[in-house]
Structure formats: structure tokens, C-alpha cells
Symmetry: C2
Subunit: 217 residues, 2 copies
DNA sequence: CACAAACATGACCGGGTGGTCATAGTGTGA
DNA sequence: TCACACTATGACCACCCGGTCATGTTTGTG
């Protein structure tokens, strides 16, 4: 909820401010990000920032939301059709994540902001920033899940809301994982030789070991 | 590397300082944590903190390392024997994670510090704090991996170092996941009906969907 | 007891923070 | 040309930060 002034702003100026804010908040997160730095880098007086946003939190929340929207806009074309002909539901989501990862690779600024919001420690800030993301998921992903349930690809008793919440939490981690030093594709994680059935933590563990297991558990 | 004074300290006082530091750093992370608050909560003059540690970073690194050591000490008895008779290597690690999760449930302070270090944004701080953890893994977990390779439980061409690095990155997330609001066990993630083979991201996705998939991909 | 070494203390420092506000500038419509 | 609403600006505010240091206290030792 930026002030009306923000929308009436000269777009070049608005872009400069947004860009500087993404860079600063992306580097240092919400509490560590400095409004002084943002104003300086954007070539704008600090006072101006408070003409656009009520306070630092609203500013950060706006930056986070805009970033989510930008990513979402990139995903929409791939969401639209649902699974392609002959594509499994799982394969469909795998493809979506690949698209997201490619986007992250091409947009370091958006990636940094995503990381900053994902890594946010303060529960209040984290939740407030996750809420609009949740809305986007509810709009773009929820119908896909419901369709999958209707098609029989997902179990009829699937708790769609719970599944949606989990996706909101997990997918950013997945999209960011390839850019974590030490977790890159050089680890030869492609291909699997094993499988496991167990609790959630167990299955995540199996993900780690799958490419290395000779004997299926 | 705390100053010598720290070790010669009255243990009650030392414990108060450590406790206050874990609480504060656990809540607000490294950059957000306040030495003033720590000193006040510990009932100690701020100047004293600088008699024990050279600066804030060394202090934080020490707190993080002590927390890792405390957790590690709890795990040692379960690491010692390696897999039990009849236990698969994967099942063994699954059991370790369960132990870790139980520990986290019983020790919110250690859990908060783990979260703060895991969520740390600054790459330098994150890496510096992860290094001693890596050493612990190299000491406690690496032999298990090597043994598994020798036993044929893991593929002979397994890159043990890479696998170790990945475990250092992933396991804390797994241990913390059950305490993330919205990711709790109420999601009925136990039991699985499907399996998938694909890239790392794909397999993580399969973890999300496994309990819900009716038809194996 | 005397002396010294070690330690605890909190006032103090420079600097950075989010946020405010009086002022100056700008654009618009009559 | 004037008047008015709007916006850009940066000096300024109170506050908090990590870190220092002179001082007083405690402790160990001969």
C-alpha cells in the first residue's frame, strides 16, 4: 500500500528507487537494509521515501510483493495450460520449478530479494511478507491442485490448503538451492537408483542419498 | 577463540552470558542481535563482554559453535555404532534426524541459534559460522559415509566430500522444518504412495507430492 | 599485610538508524 | 500573473549501535 504519490511518480524515478531498494534489501534483508543507502543509490532524498511509503516495513513489504509479482508474471504462461498432453502432474511441477530456476539465474536482483524474504528471521515480518505470496499461489496454483484432484492425479482426500501452504514454504527454497555455494549441480544429483518410503524427513533424506544408493531400502 | 578470561570465569556467570547471548542472537540473528541487550539480560556490564571476546563477530561465532557442539554431543551416542544390525544405511540416517528433531523440540534456545545461523544472509558470516559445523561433520559423519561406501551401501564412486557438504547444508533445514509454522506434522506427510526419478529439484518436489500421488510417475 | 595483576564497570565516543518537518521548488488552472 | 496544491529536500531529532578506557574493585601471592 504505497502512498498515491508513488503511482503518480515519474516512472524512471520510481524504477530507480525500486531497483536500489531491491539491491539493498536483497543484500542485507529487512532489518539490515538501510534507507539512507537506498536513497543515496537511487539519487533521491531520504525524505522522499517517506512520501511514498509510510515506514520502512511498508516499503520492504512492497518491494517483496513487487518481486513476487514479477516472478509470478513470468510463470503465468507456464501455469496456464496445466499439465501438457501426456505430462504427469509431477512432471508438470518439475517443469515449473525448472522455469523458476532459469528465471532466478537470469535475475539476480529478484533472486536476492527472494532469498532475503525466505531467510527473514523475524516471524512477524516473515509472515507479513509471505501473505501476498500465499495469495498468488491461491490464485495460480490452487486451481491446478484442485484440477489434479478432480482428474485423479492427486488423492481425493488431499488437503489442498495444507499442500498449498507447504508449497509456499518449500518452492522458494528449491528455486534458490542451485545458487547456494556447495549445493550446485556439480554434485551429480541427476538420476536416481533408489527409493524409500517413510516420514517427510525420511523422504527428504532419501533425496540426499538417492543418487548414491545401490540397494533400494 | 574467546579470551583466556572467559575460561577462568565463574561458571555461573559464564552460563548467564552464554544463555543471554543464545536468546538474543537466536531471536535477532547476528547483525540484529544487540550486545547491550545481552549484557543487560545477563546482568553484566557491556565492557565485560569485550574482556571475553574481541568483538561481536567472535562472540557470535563462539555462541554458534558452542550450540553446534552441544547438539553434536547429544548425537555422538547415536553416531557411534553406525547402523544397527539389520538397519539400512538410509534408515540409520533417518533415525539420526529423528533424534535431532527430538533434541530441537526439547531445546528451543539451541533451535533458535541454529535457525539464526541457517538463515544468516551475509555470506561471510554464514560461511564462517558453518566452518566449525563442517569440521564436526567431517569428524562424526564422514567415517560413516566412508564405511557405507566400503560396505557397498553407497556407490563406490560416491563423492564423499560433496555429499558431506550437502548434508551440512540440508540437515539443519530438516531438523528445523517441523518447527516452521505451517509445516508441522498436522500435514499428514507420513506414508507415501508414489515415487519419482529425476533431478534434485524434481526429487524434492516428489517429496512434497509423494503422500498424495495415486499413480507412480 | 602489601603489592600487583586481573577483572568488572559504565560513562563516553563516533557513527548510523528510522523518521520528521520547515522550506523551497514545481506544475497547473484561472 | 497569481495562487494554490503538491512534492522534493536535507538538516535535524532522539535513539541505539559496537567499541573504548579510565577507574575502582577483587583476587592471588610473597
Amino acid at each position: 500500500m504505497p502512498r498515491p504519490t508513488w503511482d503518480k511518480l515519474d516512472s524512471a524515478r520510481r524504477e530507480r528507487v525500486l531497483h536500489a531498494a531491491m539491491a539493498e534489501f536483497g543484500r542485507h534483508g529487512y532489518s539490515g537494509g538501510s534507507l539512507n543507502v537506498i536513497a543515496r543509490e537511487a539519487g533521491v532524498a531520504k525524505g522522499s521515501l517517506f512520501q511514498y511509503f509510510a515506514d520502512k516495513f511498508e516499503f520492504f513489504a512492497y518491494v517483496a510483493e513487487q518481486t513476487s509479482l514479477a516472478i509470478y508474471a513470468e510463470m503465468v504462461p507456464h501455469l496456464d495450460g496445466g499439465p501438457r498432453a501426456g505430462e504427469t502432474f509431477l512432471g508438470f511441477f518439475q517443469r515449473l520449478v525448472d522455469v523458476w530456476i532459469d528465471y532466478m539465474a537470469a535475475h539476480p536482483l529478484e533472486r536476492a530479494v527472494t532469498a532475503a524474504t525466505t531467510m527473514e528471521l523475524d516471524p512477524q515480518v516473515r509472515q507479513a511478507v509471505r501473505e501476498p505470496v500465499h495469495r498468488l499461489y491461491a490464485q495460480g496454483v490452487r486451481p491446478l491442485l484442485e484440477q489434479a484432484v478432480a482428474d485423479g492425479a492427486l488423492a481425493a482426500d488431499t488437503d489442498v490448503d495444507a499442500l498449498l501452504s507447504m508449497l509456499v514454504l518449500l518452492l522458494p527454497h528449491l528455486a534458490l538451492a542451485p545458487f547456494e555455494p556447495g549445493l550446485d549441480s556439480a554434485l551429480r544429483l541427476h538420476g536416481t537408483r533408489g527409493r524409500a518410503r517413510s516420514t517427510a524427513a525420511h523422504r527428504l533424506i532419501s533425496v540426499v542419498f538417492a543418487p548414491h544408493l545401490v540397494v533400494a531400502p
